[in-house]
Symmetry: C2
Subunit: 205 residues, 2 copies
């Protein structure tokens, strides 16, 4: 990996643990194994390094969503082909990814922590972890409702009901890595109860 990339990853790891102001350029350089002055050959300053991390976050997030079949600009056809069981798979995959993938978890923590201090970080956090996911889910549920797979209801609120608990569980189990099994059980219980309440078959209850 090139030095510039190594700097970005080491900085991300440190920032996500101690915050932007809690990490010095010297410490980042030490983690990379170079002198602090050398960082300035790659990034014009600490702020520029931080912005590069924000851009990296957006790229990574888009890639992840795409690989899970949740592109920001999806093929309408592919949305129609999604089934209810895909929701179980997708929610589980996205949950584990955001919880355990070191880079994804570091980015999420960093954006969460810095959202109020740097307006760009706030916008990025909002865009990635709230709006883009809700939009994506809203499209899916709209298709489900049209197709009769799900009960009628505002698709945006339905997406909120599906996604918000996932985000809260992520938050809750973030600091308790030893309870991963419990986290997954809670996630599954959430999705199951959601299906019973929102799915067509749920009316039998």
């Amino acid at each position: 990996m090139e030095t510039k990339e190594r700097i970005l990853h080491e900085a991300l790891a440190l920032f996500s643990e101690r915050g932007y102001d809690g990490v010095s350029m010297r410490q980042i350089a030490a983690a990379v194994g170079i002198q602090a002055a050398s960082l300035y050959s790659h990034y014009a300053g600490k702020e520029y390094l931080f912005r590069a991390i924000l851009e990296f976050a957006q790229e990574r997030f888009a890639e992840t969503m795409h690989s899970l079949g949740l592109a920001a600009d999806p093929d309408p056809q592919s949305v129609m082909e999604l089934k209810e069981k895909d929701l179980q798979r997708i929610s589980r995959e996205i949950f584990l990814h955001l919880l355990k993938d070191p880079t994804a978890a570091a980015l999420r923590r960093l954006l969460t922590a810095e959202q109020f201090r740097h307006s760009i970080a706030g916008q990025t956090y909002q865009q990635l972890y709230i709006e883009s996911v809700l939009d994506s889910q809203t499209r899916i549920f709209k298709a489900f409702i049209s197709a009769g797979t799900m009960r009628k209801g505002d698709p945006a609120i339905t997406a909120l009901h599906f996604y918000a608990p996932i985000l809260l569980l992520l938050n809750k189990y973030d600091r308790q890595p030893e309870k991963e099994a419990k986290a997954l059980a809670a996630l599954e219980a959430h999705v199951n109860q959601f299906m019973r309440r929102y799915g067509r078959k749920g009316n039998k209850e």
Copy 2:
């Protein structure tokens, strides 16, 4: 207000905007109108001041919950007397309080931002904004389900379905104070759809 209290409130306001490491003791002193050295007559150091804020957060939160009829250690009788319509009122009141009350909003933002850096802040965040609320709501829904007011289902998951969207909406509209009306409309739509899905009368759909 005593100097010690003024220090705590000014520090809270500054920390919540710029973070713990983003605010110096000199800046806090300037906001209060004294010299930095004088702060040490009230708090032994920056860390001690921060911990005092965390303790204050717990007290304030408990008071707020109590005034909304959501004590941490509730009278079982009072829980039974809650009605469905109380949910609308409570959710609206707690939402507006956490969103707009300056002290409550500052505490929430500060704890959100610092949760990964100071383990005590992380515990406090988790305790206040996740566990205590979910526990409280779980008790209420358990009572509702027993009383037949609500459909059967895991009360803990039901609480998750009720509270998680509120927390997400709080997060979403935190940086958009001009959209308060929209935020309240979304909150009401959430609670309404929740009622239709979970309430007894919802079966008619």
